[in-house]
């Protein structure tokens, strides 16, 4: 490497530096003598960044790229001398690792090549430049994938960042510093990944955040979380270094590609998927799945790579493949059971073709893929079983489609490539995000729900079909809760989560309770309000007094607590640690308390607002009236329609029951609204 210090013996390795070539006796004889500097400790194990550059003979730019591609990162030495604080240290082994990387050589080649090109360009010799362009040196990165992730599970474990990055690049404009071919490849990867997730029903969580849409899928028992940015033009800040991002994406592309290959080959499918039909392709998952089906119907057996050998530790991919196929079977079967006879004809082709395709796969490679015993009916795969969603054009299709397909629904959408039209009677849920229902939709079949997209995600997260009343068209939907938050662990459960829990347990939704308790609470808040008015002036004093009183109470509580007594006997060190831990706990507790207080205040305010005298014009009243009535009518019609076709299947009975419940609920709501409208007038 050429940066050996003169007069210092050459170190062959770190080990050699530590226990040189001396024998034990000789070493013993040297014991107690002064050690040579730089043979052990920080100097022998770590290099600063500038030392790395010097040793590798590369520029900072190349070093950065190597670090990113190779996955080398600085480490924190256990002990850092004071004069070296604030420096970045790389482990010497990591740097040796880079030094032996063939990529380093190809970087140098490229540098030499660029010199030639520049020279040719300077001489204005076009032919020479063209010839050089043909012989442009290239490099590959797959050896790095294997090196960094020797096991497939390792690769899956690090897929979070890779997927998020690839998805982000798929949504960026392919211009300027971002190459359009990179963007194109990223798009394909994203699509293939989505197709895999929806095929295998491995989606577990989905969440619309302001930051983007978060998804989580469980692949081979590894949870993988990724963010999809909202489908708008992204803001590209000027201080973001896209060279760094491009280097990352360069590696992640390869990683995701290989992971997908492995996953697809586990399913017995050909990868990469080539979408040939230009006209029909809408860039969505469904069209890709269709291509896959067609591909599977053909010469899959020839195309697919041999399935990997089964290992006892890992859940073999072949079993997952069979599972997914059987899931599909189940979906289709149930769909045909549940749906009406006329609907079935419409719905069947969507799913049955998939089944056929996949069963063709099974038959072609039957011995390895079919495992009839392992029928694993995961609840998430059957959640939307038998439902047909139609996605209106204002709804971000890529979200809803992915979630719907992952949980077993079939999908149609407004636009090219859709298997079903908006008028299709098979549609059970019309996903829509408009202020009101357009008049043209009146001609649509009546037996469908119009819901907002949040209903799909919330139902998927909570694991059962939520009542659609709260997600109706033009209604402000309930809070959208993050599925990653463990409310119990967190110590705070938002109201809506409580409601959903009640619903899950089969209790009556809280709104009835609210209406019941309304009358009881009527008096109390007024008193409270009057209190508040009077005590505004000396609020602060009261607060202080309260605080003091609380403190004294606390103390009194502590008085004879043996724990408190024991605490006084703690050592200083333990006391500090204990204090710190308690501080953290207290902070958390205070955060929760703050939330609770805020919630209470908000609810109080809402109740107050309800009770306030509101002058509602006759028109408005009528409008509300009509809305409620139309809702009722719709439900009734639906029930009637159902009744006609009822064959006595249990699923339908359940559905009917649900609808009935909804009707009752709506009735109650209607009554309440009427009541609330009439009340203020009396006043």
């Amino acid at each position: 490497m050429g940066n050996r210090v003169k007069g210092r013996t050459k170190k062959k390795s770190i080990k050699a530096a530590k226990s040189s070539s001396m024998s034990s006796t000789r070493r013993l004889s040297r014991m107690g003598k002064k050690l040579k500097a730089g043979n052990a400790g920080l100097q022998a194990t770590f290099l600063t960044r500038s030392a790395c550059l010097k040793r590798l003979q590369v520029t900072l730019k190349d070093f950065r790229r190597l670090c990113i591609l190779k996955g080398v990162y600085p480490r924190t030495p256990s002990k850092t001398p004071m004069n070296k604080k604030g420096q970045t240290f790389y482990h010497i082994k990591d740097i040796t690792y880079i030094a032996h990387e063939p990529l380093l050589e190809s970087f140098r080649d490229f540098k030499a090549y660029m010199k030639k090109v520049r020279k040719a360009a300077g001489k204005d010799s076009k032919d020479e430049a063209m010839r050089l362009a043909l012989n442009k040196p290239s490099y590959t990165l797959h050896h790095l994938v294997k090196e960094r992730y020797p096991r497939f599970s390792d690769a899956l474990g690090d897929l979070d960042d890779a997927l998020s990055m690839v998805v982000l690049f798929a949504s960026l404009p392919g211009a300027g510093k971002i190459k359009s071919d990179v963007v194109e490849r990223c798009r394909n990867l994203h699509r293939s990944w989505n197709a895999y997730v929806s095929m295998t029903n491995s989606m577990t969580k989905s969440f619309v955040s302001v930051k983007g849409i978060y998804f989580e899928a469980e692949v081979q028992n590894v949870p993988i979380r990724w963010v999809v940015p909202h489908a708008f033009t992204q803001n590209l800040p000027k201080d973001v270094d896209f060279r760094v991002m491009s280097t990352f994406v360069e590696f992640y592309e390869v990683l995701v590609n290989f992971v997908l290959f492995k996953l697809y080959s586990g399913l017995g499918l050909r990868y990469p998927v080539k979408v040939v039909e230009e006209g029909k392709d809408d860039g969505g998952i469904s069209s890709l799945l269709r291509v896959l089906r067609e591909g599977a119907g053909g010469d899959v057996a020839d195309a697919i790579a041999p399935p990997p050998p089964r290992t006892s530790t890992k859940s073999s991919s072949s079993s997952s493949a069979s599972t997914s196929m059987l899931d599909v079977d189940a979906i289709v079967g149930d769909a045909s059971d549940a749906d009406d006879s006329d609907e079935e004809d419409e719905a069947a082709p969507v799913a049955s073709s998939l089944t056929e395709a996949l069963s063709a796969t099974v038959s072609s490679d039957g011995t390895t893929l079919v495992d009839t015993a392992a029928v694993d009916e995961t609840p998430r795969a059957s959640l939307f079983k038998g439902l047909t969603f139609f996605i209106s054009r204002e709804v971000p299709k890529h979200i809803v489609e992915l979630v719907a397909l992952s949980y077993g629904a079939s999908c149609g959408w407004e636009g090219k490539g859709s298997p079903i039209m908006a008028e299709d009677p098979a549609i059970t849920h019309f996903i829509m995000d408009r202020p009101s229902l357009p008049a043209t939709y009146a001609s649509h079949p009546k037996n469908r729900e119009y819901v907002q997209p949040q209903w799909v995600l919330d139902s998927a997260n909570f694991g059962f079909l939520l009542p659609v009343s709260k997600y109706g068209v033009g209604v402000a939907p309930p809070p959208h809760l993050s599925p990653w938050v463990d409310n119990e662990k967190e110590g705070y459960t938002p109201r809506y989560a409580e409601e959903v829990d009640k619903l899950r347990r089969g209790e009556i939704p809280d709104e009835a309770e609210d209406s019941d308790s309304d009358s009881d609470e009527e008096a109390a808040p007024e008193v409270a309000a009057s209190d508040e008015d009077s005590s505004e002036s000396d609020d602060e004093d009261q607060d202080e007094q309260e605080a003091e009183a609380k403190q004294t109470e606390k103390k009194a509580k502590q008085a004879d607590d043996p724990k408190e007594l024991a605490k006084s006997m703690m050592s200083k060190k333990a006391a500090r640690l204990y204090g710190r831990m308690q501080h953290g706990l207290d902070e958390r507790q205070s955060g929760i308390e703050r939330l609770v207080q805020k919630r209470d205040a908000i609810e109080k305010q809402q109740r107050k607002d309800k009770r306030k005298i509101v002058i509602i014009s006759k028109d408005e009243e009528d409008e509300i009236d009509m809305k409620a009535k139309s809702g009722l009518r719709r439900v009734e019609e639906k029930i009637q329609g159902r009744k006609k076709d009822e064959k006595g299947s249990s699923a339908q009975k359940q559905k009917a029951k649900r609808l009935k419940d909804e009707r009752v609920q709506l009735n109650r709501q209607f009554d309440k609204q009427i009541k609330s409208l009439k009340k203020p007038k009396k006043k």
């Binding site: 924190t76 020797p150 302001v210 800040p237 290959f261 907002q452 809070p479 993050s482 938050v485």
Partner: protein, 741 residues
């Protein structure tokens, strides 16, 4: 090349008009076939050689010493006659010269003939001009120069040799001249001759003549101007016009040869105009032009064969592919089955530092939702707080929770790229290290102590109050000191009003009171002259007054009724003192140290360093080996005298300054009173076994034992000498008896 020739008339031009030679050509007869070749014995170019014609006048001029007019005309290529010793060589080249003569005769009619006429001088015989056509030089004008050679040794030689030379640059040997070689001429200065010729004859020195003769001669001679003296041969020579011309040209810096053409006429050998009557003008197109190329046919055949064999494909032919080499996995990033499931060992074989996986990004919380619950939306106050925070510490990064009415109103997140970029930076720039998270239950840090119930009895309940009579305004004076009689029957208190009161312990009855002002000299109290009573002790054997300098400590001998002053010098401000229960030791506490003196030996035994800033009280355990020290900085230090000078244990549990500490004389109890109004009761067992540490267990906090008034709380605490009771006094003017219930 010095040629001895008669100079021609210099005024005459060297070139004559071409018409002239035709007239003159008749004059000289063509040389006889045999004659001309007579002297040209040297090598001669056969094709061009023209034999030098010789006149019959040769002989006639032979004898003359004057300029001989023997002229010879030789062709341009004729070189020289090097050897003229050979006289009879005339016939040798007869045929040659004959042919030349023949050609010469035939050449008369040639129009291209160039004639050079030498100037004829009146004195001299006009030189004969020979003009010849030189065959082979079609476009060239041959300039024939006639050399006139004058020889004085014609007699010796028999005939004059005339040489026609074209090339002046050719180096000739001196023909018939001085042959001494290149030696300095002055070697011959002594002699009459100048040298020798080839045949051995002398070259005579010319007669000098006098100057007049010379001048005359010069004036006579019209060619004097052009005459040069040849030192070697001792002859004079007239320059030929050509030579003069050469000299002129050299002087003027032009090319020396007059023949040189500076600007020759341009001859276009290759013209752009196609010649209609060229060699190939009327040739027809060859057949092969109309037939398919054999080479192409072969090439196509090869390609077809390669296509059939599969060596190439259409993509390659159309240029879509650059190479037909199969893209192996080594050269492309195309995916293949990388993981086969048998990689476990591979990982184990890795060397170097263990990989530290980057922590995953935090999952989104409720607050990051597009419709968060209302309580997660920050109020203005919270927003302000966040703004003041460092951007890194803000709770949701760049995001401020916001509620959107519906999904369609959610726009792009402006920091999506930045967030990802920051993650990238973290991944490759952030130093990583494994930190063990302390995953312990905080409660496990709290020591487990024996239950207080098991350590009974200890004072735990307020049982009796000893009332000091109130002042006229209703307040009671602060009670600063309290003490119990050794039999436990009486309790004495010292208050700020300077009154010592005696109570009966059992009944709480105020038996007697002494005003120290009234008594003047206190018997039992200290600081007699003025109230308040700061300390009180039954049967005191010592007395401490901090401000009293060297007399700060006084030892009283009650039996004798005498006092003594142990220290002659003050050791800092003494705050309190006490005796060892068994040994003659005196403990004296200054601000932060406790000094132990041997009273008999009168030496300092030990100096205990408490680490406290202001010691207020000191108590010695009944065994005498343990000392507790209370200080104003809330600390209570436990000293084991056997262990060392530093405290065995320092306890800090009071919220305010400690005012008093106490050991029970019989029960393993310990107490401390503090300004926070609390009294802490400890179980303190001291084992006789030296190896066992004393057991100190807090058993009871008498909370709110005394009300805090004027920042002062409990001021004193003392145990009952026999029972597990304790008495405390405080700034609220109360004296309380605490008993075990």
């Amino acid at each position: 090349m010095p040629k001895k020739s008669k100079p021609p008339a210099p005024g005459k031009p060297s070139g004559k008009p071409s018409g002239k030679p035709s007239g003159k050509a008749t004059k000289p007869p063509p040389p006889p076939p045999a004659a001309p070749s007579s002297e040209s014995d040297g090598e001669s170019d056969g094709s061009e050689s023209i034999g030098g014609p010789l006149d019959d006048e040769e002989e006639e001029s032979d004898g003359a010493l004057e300029y001989d007019s023997n002229e010879e005309v030789s062709s341009g290529s004729e070189a020289e006659a090097s050897d003229d010793s050979d006289d009879d060589g005339f016939e040798d080249q007869g045929s040659d010269s004959d042919s030349a003569g023949g050609s010469g005769s035939g050449s008369d009619s040639e129009p291209e003939l160039a004639v050079v006429a030498l100037p004829d001088s009146s004195d001299l015989e006009p030189p004969r001009l020979w003009s010849r056509k030189v065959s082979g030089l079609s476009h060239r004008t041959a300039v024939l120069s006639r050399e006139v050679e004058t020889t004085r040794d014609l007699a010796v030689r028999g005939h004059t040799q005339e040489l026609l030379q074209v090339d002046d640059l050719s180096s000739d040997d001196e023909a018939g001249g001085n042959a001494i070689g290149k030696v300095p001429l002055h070697w011959y200065d002594e002699y009459e001759h100048l040298g020798y010729r080839n045949d051995g004859s002398r070259v005579e020195r010319p007669e000098g003549g006098n100057a007049i003769d010379q001048v005359l001669e010069q004036t006579d001679d019209p060619n004097a101007k052009y005459t040069v003296y040849d030192e070697l041969n001792g002859t004079k020579r007239v320059l030929t016009p050509r030579e003069i011309e050469i000299i002129r040209r050299i002087q003027s810096g032009a090319a020396p040869h007059p023949e040189h053409e500076a600007n020759p006429d341009h001859v276009s050998y290759f013209s752009s105009i196609p010649e209609m009557s060229g060699l190939n003008a009327d040739r027809s197109e060859p057949k092969r032009r109309f037939q398919p190329s054999v080479r192409d046919k072969r090439l196509v055949g090869k390609m077809l064969q390669a296509l059939k064999d599969g060596k190439i494909d259409m993509d390659f032919l159309e240029g879509k592919k650059k190479t037909m080499q199969p893209k192996s996995a080594e050269t492309t990033n195309d995916p293949f089955l990388m993981w086969r499931g048998d990689e476990e060992d591979e990982l184990a074989a890795r060397k170097g530092p263990a990989h530290i996986a980057a922590p995953k990004m935090d999952p989104p919380t409720h607050a990051e939702s597009y419709r968060p619950p209302a309580e997660y939306i920050p109020t203005e106050k919270e927003l302000k707080e966040w703004e003041e925070l460092d951007p890194e510490d803000r709770p949701y990064g760049h995001l401020v929770p916001k509620e959107f009415p519906n999904l369609r109103s959610v726009g792009a997140y402006e920091n999506a790229v930045r967030d990802r970029f920051e993650r990238c930076l973290d991944l490759y720039l952030c130093p990583r290290s494994v930190k063990k998270r302390l995953n312990i239950d905080p409660e496990s840090l709290v020591p487990s102590l024996p239950k207080a119930q098991d350590l009974k009895p200890y004072p735990n309940a307020r049982c009796l109050k000893y009332l000091t009579p109130p002042r006229p305004d209703g307040s009671r004076p602060r009670v600063r000191a309290v003490t119990v009689s050794p039999d436990g029957q009486w309790l004495a208190s010292g208050a700020e009003d300077g009154v010592v009161r005696l109570f009966e312990v059992q009944t709480g009855k105020l038996v007697r009171s002494w005003s120290l002002v009234e008594f003047g000299d206190a018997v039992e109290g200290e600081e007699a002259p003025c109230p308040p009573v700061a300390a009180l002790e039954w049967n005191p054997q010592k007395c401490v007054s901090p401000k009293a300098d060297s007399a700060a400590v006084l030892i009283h001998q009650l039996s004798k009724g005498a006092s003594q002053q142990p220290f002659s010098k003050s050791k800092g401000e003494v705050t309190c003192a006490c005796f060892h229960p068994l040994k003659p030791f005196l403990f004296v506490a200054s601000q932060s140290h406790v000094r132990v003196y041997h009273l008999i030996k009168q030496t300092l035994v030990k100096k205990l360093i408490s680490g406290a800033k202001q010691i207020v009280d000191i108590q010695v355990h009944g065994s005498g080996d343990h000392v507790i020290v209370g200080s104003l900085d809330k600390k209570m230090s436990w000293f084991d005298l056997d262990l060392g000078a530093t405290p065995y244990k320092t306890l800090k549990y009071h919220e305010k300054a400690i005012r008093a500490v106490a050991f029970h004389p019989r029960y393993p109890l310990m107490a401390s009173a503090s300004d926070d109004g609390n009294i802490h009761i400890f179980h303190a067992t001291v084992y006789s076994d030296l190896l066992r540490n004393p057991l100190v267990v807090p058993v009871k906090v008498l909370r709110g034992a005394h009300d805090v008034t004027g920042r002062l709380g409990a001021l004193g605490v003392v145990f009952h000498p026999r029972l597990p009771w304790c008495f405390s006094c405080g700034a609220d003017g109360q004296i309380v008896c605490w008993q075990d219930v």
